[in-house]
Amino acid sequence: MKKFFSFFFYLMILPFVPAEAASSQRVFLVLWNGCEEACRGFSEYLKSTHEDIEIIQRDLDGQTDKIPDVIAEIKNAAPDLLVTWGTLPTLKILGTGNGNFVSKYGTIPALFMVVSQPVESGLVPSLVSQGRNITGVMHLVPLAEQLQSARQVVAFKRLGIVYNPAETNAQATVDQLRQYAALMNFELLEHPLTLSANRQPSATGIAPAVAGLADKKADVIYLAPDAFMNANRKTLIDTATAFSIPVFSASEGAVRYDNALFAFVHRYYTVGQMAGRKALKILKDKVQAYDIPIEAPQRPLFVVNMTAAQKTGVYPPFSLLQNADLVNIPSPDK
C-alpha cells in the first residue's frame, strides 16, 4: 500500500519536475579599475537575454599585485567562462602561451575585452586561429582608418606623438605610425619620454615634450593606446591646447572627459555588448572560444569634444559633425 501511494504521488508531481534541473552558469569577470562602460555593456547585454547566468565580478583596483589572489580564486571557483578587461590584466591572467593557460585553468574558456593589440602583445598568434581556447573583442579602430579620419578634421603634414617607450602597445603604435608616415605623406615627430634607471617614465617630461612638438610645428598630436600617457593625458592635452594644437586620441575617454579634440572609436559600451554576445555563444550555444574569431564592432563613431574645438579653433567638417557623437558642448553664453 505504501509503495502504491509513493508511486501515485510520483505520478502526481511528475509534470512539475523538469527533465534536467537547469543550473545557473557562472562567468568570472576580472576588471582593472571598476566597472566602466564596457563592463556595463557586457553585464546589461547578458541581463537582457534573461538567461540564468551569474556574474562573479572582481576588481583589481588598478593594482597588479592583486592578480595572484584572483588567479587562485578563479581556480577554486572553476567558472564556465573567464572574462578579462584590458591589456595588462589579460596578459597577466591569461599569459601568452597555451601550455601555461591549460595548466592554470584547464578547460575553462576565456574571453577578453578592451585589449588594443592582441596579436602584437603576444596574447594570440592571429585573430582568426587563436591556437588557444580564447576569444575576445578589440576596441581600437585600425590605425590607418584613424589617420584617414583625422585627415578629414586637420589636413596635417606633421603629426606629433609623446609616448612611453617602455610600453609594448605604445612602441607597436609608433612602429606602425612610421610605416604610415611614408605611405600617407606626413612627417612623424616622435618624442619618447626619458626613462629612469628602473625603466619608469616621469610625468614631468610631458609638458616640455609637447612644447618641443610645438616648436617643430606639429599640426596635431596623437594620443596613442599608451597606459602611462593615458594616465597623464590631462597634462598632454592642456599643454597642447595652450599651443592651439589639437589632440586626437585612440580612445574615447580622452575626448569625453579630458578635452582631446576627437577620436574615431568603437564605443566601450558596444565592445562590452559584443563581448556579451560572444559569451552567450560559448555558454548557451556551446561553441568553443577558439572557434569564435577575435573582432571589433562594425560601426566606428566619431567623438568630438566641442569645447576643445572652440579652444583650438579647429572645427571638424560640417558633414562629419552631423554623424558624430558631440560631447562637452559649450554653454551658449560662452
Binding site: 559600451y269 558596444t270 562594425q298 560601426r299 566641442m306 567638417p317 558633414s319
Partner: protein
C-alpha cells in the same frame, strides 16, 4: 505647287494626328516621370536624414527600444509635407512597430514583405500599395546587426492629382496641335481646289490669303509647341518648390543644431562641400546659398549669379524667368540669424530633352 486631293488631305491629317499624339505622349511620359522622381527623391532625402539621426544614436550603443529621442523625431517628421501619412520604426526580428508618429500603430505587426525588403544597408526600399507608397531604410546596431527598419508612408493622392493635371494638359495640346495641323492640311486642299475652279483670274489675291493663312497656322503651331513645355512645367511646379523648401528646411535644421553645438555660424567648415553634394544628387537645384540676416552670402554652392538678373534702369535684382527659389530661416535660440536659399531650374527637364 501640286494640288492636294481629298484623300491626300485626309491621309496627311491622320498622319499628323498620329505624330502629334506620339510627340505629346513622349513628352508627357518624361515630365510625368520627372514629377514622380522629384517626389521620390524628396521623400528619400527626408527619410535618410531621419535615418542618419537615429543611426548616430545606435552607433553610440543604444538598442532600438532604448532610442529615447526617436518618438520625438518621428512626430516632427513630415509635419509640413501635405502628402505625408505615417513614419514608424519596427523591430526586424518580429516586425512589431516600436515607435510611430501615429501612437495607435505601436505594437502592431508590419507586413512580411516589408521585413524581407528592409535589409540592405543605406538603401531605400520602395513599395507601392493602393493609395500609399512606403519607403524604408534598415537600422543597424553598432555591432552591424540589422535590428530594425525605419519606414515612412506617403499618400499618393497629391501625386495622382499632378498626374491627372498632366494628362489633361497632354490631351489639351494633342487637340490643339492636331487641330492646327488638320487646318493646315485643309488649307492646302482648299488652295488647290480654289486655284483650279473658282478664282482663276484672281490668283494674286488667292496667294496672299493662302500665305497669311499658312503663316498664322504655322505661328499657332509654334506657339502651341512652346507653351506645351511650359504647361507641363507649370503642372509640377508645386512638386519642385515643395522639394526645394524641404531641402532648404533640412539644411537650416542641420545648421541650427551645429550652432547649438557651439560652432559659430560664420565658421562652418566644408559647408560648401556638404551643400554641393546635395546639389549633385538633385539635378534641378541651381544653387544653394546660406546668408546672414542682412543677406550677405556666407556659403554658396552652385552659381547663384547665373540665376539672377539686374534691371538696367532700377538696379533691382530678381530671379530670371524659369528659376524658382525657396528660403527657410536659420534660428539661434528662437532668433533668426540667417537664411538658407535653394534655387531651382524649372526648365531642367526641357533642357535635358533638348
Amino acid at each position: 505647287m501640286r494640288n492636294f486631293s481629298f484623300i491626300h488631305t485626309v491621309f496627311a491629317s491622320l498622319l499628323w494626328c498620329a505624330a502629334v499624339f506620339v510627340f505629346v505622349g513622349v513628352n508627357f511620359v518624361k515630365y510625368e516621370a520627372t514629377s514622380r522622381m522629384l517626389r521620390q527623391t524628396r521623400i528619400e532625402g527626408r527619410l535618410l536624414e531621419l535615418h542618419r539621426m537615429l543611426q548616430v544614436e545606435m552607433d553610440k550603443g543604444y538598442s532600438l527600444p532604448e532610442l529615447k529621442s526617436a518618438e520625438k523625431q518621428l512626430l516632427q517628421f513630415g509635419r509640413e509635407e501635405m502628402d505625408f501619412s505615417t513614419v514608424s520604426v519596427f523591430d526586424a526580428r518580429n516586425g512589431k512597430i516600436l515607435f510611430s508618429s501615429l501612437p495607435s500603430l505601436s505594437g502592431q505587426t508590419v507586413s512580411e514583405q516589408w521585413r524581407k525588403k528592409c535589409v540592405s544597408p543605406d538603401t531605400v526600399f520602395y513599395e507601392t500599395e493602393k493609395n500609399r507608397d512606403a519607403f524604408g531604410v534598415p537600422l543597424f546596431n553598432a555591432m552591424g546587426e540589422n535590428t530594425g527598419c525605419l519606414i515612412a508612408e506617403y499618400s499618393t493622392e497629391l501625386n495622382e492629382a499632378v498626374r491627372e493635371k498632366m494628362i489633361k494638359t497632354a490631351f489639351r495640346y494633342i487637340f490643339r496641335l492636331a487641330g492646327t495641323g488638320m487646318s493646315l492640311c485643309g488649307l492646302l486642299f482648299l488652295f488647290g481646289f480654289l486655284k483650279k475652279s473658282i478664282f482663276v483670274d484672281k490668283k494674286i489675291r488667292l496667294i496672299s490669303f493662302f500665305t497669311i493663312g499658312l503663316g498664322t497656322l504655322l505661328l499657332l503651331l509654334f506657339f502651341n509647341f512652346s507653351t506645351m513645355f511650359k504647361a507641363f512645367e507649370y503642372d509640377f511646379k508645386d512638386t519642385l518648390v515643395t522639394k526645394a523648401r524641404v531641402i532648404a528646411g533640412q539644411i537650416a535644421e542641420c545648421l541650427e543644431k551645429t550652432i547649438q553645438n557651439g560652432v559659430p555660424f560664420d565658421s562652418m567648415t566644408s559647408l560648401e562641400t556638404y551643400m554641393d553634394q546635395i546639389r549633385q544628387k538633385n539635378k534641378e537645384i541651381l544653387f544653394i546659398l546660406v546668408t546672414d540676416k542682412t543677406g550677405r552670402v556666407l556659403y554658396e554652392a552652385g552659381n547663384a549669379s547665373e540665376a539672377f538678373e539686374a534691371d538696367a534702369r532700377t538696379g533691382k535684382v530678381s530671379l530670371k524667368e524659369g528659376c524658382g527659389n525657396a528660403a527657410e530661416p536659420v534660428n539661434k535660440a528662437g532668433v533668426s540669424v540667417g537664411w538658407v536659399q535653394v534655387g531651382v531650374n524649372e526648365r531642367f527637364v526641357h533642357e535635358k530633352i533638348f
